[in-house]
Amino acid sequence: MSQTDSSPHGTAWTDQRVETWVSVMLRTGVLLAAFIVLIGGILYLVHAHGAPRPDYTHFRGEPAAYTTLSGVLHGVAAFDPRAIIMLGLLVLIATPVARVGMCIVGFFFEHDRLYIVVSTVVLLILLYSLFFHK
């Protein structure tokens, strides 16, 4: 039996501490994402003023500039408002992934080998989904 099993209160305390870090990170991530989306949104509305609104009634898919990481980064460098919004959305998508990464570190400190493996499996599924899922 591992040490964590013999001292349930110690585990609860460390869990609580890990969760507190995680929640601070999640909040920071989501606020940063919202801030970037807001900046991009304001720029978009200033640029798009008077133009007809985009038609979303038929699905055509977004152009390549907004569907790949490199496309978005190029757009941000060129100060494209929509690319800035997309950057914010990518930061947002990255926050739960970072959360799983932080849990691996937390379980490492608790010497919980089983849950290091479990969280690593979740992280690998997420990384696969973000980069390779077709």
Binding site: T20, H49, P54, L92, P96, R99, V121, L130, K134
Partner: protein, 278 residues
């Protein structure tokens, strides 16, 4: 319509959805897709894209409040996230293959089901028999009930809970929602975890589950930046305000009102998509 006016209307609608979602405990994500498709005639693929990012934002934004309460169980959440993320991979893949009307139809049914579960009363049926698999996986914990008291709990029926969670993941990926209702059923009904543990752990899992669909949504072009912008900001602001107001409003009445709205949207979605098939 001018893009500015359109974005403003979307922002206000999303804010209302987020507010009602937080106050009723149902989450704002579940009404975003019907709102966008029925009211604003947005194609369902763009709608589920905007909904998915809103779901991630609310889940991450609410995390701090849940952690303070100390009810959520990270081991239970992490173990079941294997099921929900794998399910989400399948669900997101299905959106690229299944006809639009089929997505809408499933959505309508899920709306009706969510309304039903939100009004059902919950009674914790705690079994303290040590389930061998749950003990090996350390799916247990203690729920604080007072300053110096707590109840110990151990999960039951792990395979059933895991299967239900996979289904929750498929629905999340297919519909761009958090599937909170199905996640809570899996933990509360199947695994016999205390209701408070189920709801808070479910919130934690929603963001990770939704992130597993985001890659394919992005590559398939479902994330329309100018549409997602007001929706995501509105839902996030609404849910943050809602979680602060929560103590001051009569939740039961609000739950009924929100459930009725969801039922109406669900019926409309089923009807219009059945018509689409004919």
């Amino acid at each position: 319509m001018d893009p500015f006016v359109f974005s403003l209307i979307l922002l206000v609608s999303a804010l209302a959805a987020g507010l009602l979602g937080a106050l009723s405990g149902l989450g704002g994500g579940v009404v975003i897709v019907p709102l966008l498709t029925i009211v604003f005639h947005v194609d369902i693929h763009y709608a589920i894209g905007a909904s998915l990012v809103s779901v991630i934002a609310t889940s991450s934004g609410a995390a701090a409040a849940y952690v303070r309460e100390g009810f959520s169980n990270i081991r239970v959440g992490m173990f079941l996230e294997i099921a929900t993320t794998l399910g989400a991979l399948v669900g997101a893949w299905l959106t690229t293959r299944v006809p639009t009307h089929a997505i809408g139809l499933v959505f309508g049914v899920v709306l009706l089901y969510s309304a039903y579960t939100s009004l059902k009363q919950h009674h914790d049926v705690l079994t303290r028999n040590p389930d061998a698999l749950a003990v090996r996986l350390r799916l247990k914990g203690s729920l604080p009930t007072g300053p110096d008291s707590h109840i110990d709990y151990v999960a039951q029926n792990v395979p059933a809970g895991f299967s239900l969670m996979t289904a929750a993941g498929v629905l999340s990926g297919l519909l761009g929602i958090g599937s909170g209702a199905v996640k809570v059923i899996a933990m509360d009904q199947a695994m016999r975890l205390p209701f408070k543990v189920s709801t808070t752990t479910s919130n934690f899992m929603i963001g990770v589950t939704a992130a597993a669909s985001a890659g394919l949504y992005l590559r398939s072009g479902y994330l329309a930046p100018a549409l997602a912008m007001p929706v995501m900001l509105g839902v996030l602001a609404g849910s943050l305000i809602g979680s602060r107001l929560l103590v001051r409003v009569h939740v039961r009445t609000l739950k009924i009102v929100f459930a009725l709205i969801i039922v109406a949207l669900g019926i409309e979605m089923i009807a219009s998509n059945v018509r689409g098939f004919l």
